[in-house]
């Protein structure tokens, strides 16, 4: 039976996201507002993604082009991540590891960056839910533009 939990602070969400990327073996998909990229860099998620790619894994990400921290995208590209930009993105933000474990949220804003800020994030290892998020990711991926081209 699949497990699931609601995460209620930015701190918990970052901790779980970190565990997801660190434990991933083949693939990580993410859609995040650009403001959140700073948190990822601060808590070592970029390094973890780099290690996964060095072991042969694939990391694809979509970031809101209209966001305030698009300047952080090159670091992801330098890691070997494939990044695309969408302007604007109005769907669910997500991180999916190995088509199984995921976290997702609909109410992430640029202001919610303090670790103790309240947030509503859903974590699960349900494969059907991961499939649902992945199909959503692929639809957004097809509409998005290569970051390399735009930056």
């Amino acid at each position: 039976m699949a497990n699931e939990k609601i995460l209620e602070t930015v701190k918990d969400a970052v901790a779980v996201a970190s565990a997801l990327v660190e434990s991933a073996k083949t693939e990580v998909l993410w859609i995040l507002p650009s403001a959140v990229l700073g948190l990822g860099a601060q808590f070592g998620l970029n390094e973890m993604a780099k290690k996964l790619i060095e072991k042969g894994g694939r990391v694809r990400g979509i970031v809101d082009h209209a966001g305030s921290r698009v300047d952080l995208v090159p670091e992801h590209l330098n890691n070997g991540e494939e990044v695309r930009l969408l302007d604007p993105y109005q769907g669910t933000f997500m991180l999916v590891a190995d088509s199984r474990e995921s976290i997702s949220a609909m109410t992430v804003s640029a202001d919610q960056l303090a670790l103790d800020d309240p947030i509503v994030v859903f974590w699960t290892d349900n494969k059907v839910y991961a499939e649902f998020l992945s199909s959503t990711f692929e639809a957004a991926w097809n509409r998005a533009v290569e970051a390399k081209t735009l930056l």
């Binding site: 699949a2 609601i6 109410t107 839910y129």
Partner: protein, 278 residues
């Protein structure tokens, strides 16, 4: 011989063991006997015969004599079968009593087996969605929460879901909806308010669609292309009755509801502004 075997088979199907059926048939056929000749005739041990006789006496199908040595006689068939049936009836009554006790204990323990079975299903076409949404609206008891892009409201009206919602509100249900109320959607919002829906405006909110029915059933779609919606169009929408997922969507809804503006106020604002300039 064949008739005897048939008779034994019927006794077994009536609830006797094979040994009981054979022994009872033997006593019926050859008359009262002591255990020793019975053991010899049936090619078994006396202890085995004693055990089987005791079971048949308990069932009221064999009667022991009072003299010595004890003779065992088969009770006539009708009386024996009546007696066996009474025993089954007695067992049935005991089972009924135990069933009631278990039901009472289960209620005290508050077992909730239905919560253990959760469905996560991906809906892949508008046709499939309409097939689920209509019956769901008519089966709803208490509450529907919806976050929806403006275009979905027009689709709901088109496929008759608005009528189902109207009936639901008339039955005393609560319907809350968050959407981007734009000038082009005034007609649909007025229709929604007229049937008793509670609507709030979220500026520019377009990407996400979800509905939570009775705090349990969830429909969640992301980035549905409303402009090209047709029955055959592929979509990716999640259906689930998972309570944790419902709690996640409800918490998200509550957060956004607090940020929303009542649709009545938004309509006044839009009518004051007039149609958007080309």
């Amino acid at each position: 011989m064949a008739a005897s075997e048939d008779f034994v088979r019927h006794l077994i199907s009536f609830g006797l063991t094979e040994k009981e059926a054979v022994l009872y048939t033997h006593l019926l056929k050859y008359g009262p006997k002591t255990p020793s000749p019975l053991a010899k005739s049936l090619h078994t041990y006396r202890e085995d015969i004693h055990r089987t006789l005791t079971a048949l006496i308990d069932k009221g199908m064999v009667r022991p004599s009072l003299d010595s040595p004890t003779m065992y006689a088969a009770v006539d068939l009708d009386s024996a079968l009546d007696s066996a049936m009474k025993q089954h009836e007695s067992e049935l009554r005991e089972m009924e009593a135990r069933k009631r006790q278990l039901q009472e204990l289960s209620a005290q323990e508050r077992f909730r087996p239905s919560d253990e079975v959760k469905t996560f299903k991906i809906i892949k076409s508008v046709k499939e969605l309409v097939g689920i949404a209509g019956p769901l609206a008519s089966a709803t008891e208490d509450e529907i929460l919806i976050i929806s892009p403006e275009g979905v409201i027009a689709v709901a009206s088109l496929f008759g879901i608005t009528d189902e919602v109207k009936n639901f509100i008339a039955r005393g249900g609560t319907f809350k909806m968050l959407t981007n109320v734009a000038y082009s959607g005034i007609e649909f919002i007025e229709e929604a308010l007229a049937i008793g829906e509670q609507v709030r405006h979220l500026p520019g909110y377009q990407g996400i669609y979800f509905a939570v029915v009775d705090r349990r059933i969830c429909l969640h779609g992301i980035n549905i292309d409303i402009k090209h919606l047709s029955l055959s169009q592929p979509i990716a929408m999640l259906y689930t009755d998972d309570p944790t997922y419902a709690a996640y969507l409800i918490a998200t809804f509550d957060l956004l509801w607090q940020q929303g503006m009542p649709a009545e106020e938004r309509l006044v604002e839009l009518q004051a502004q007039g149609p958007p300039q080309a």
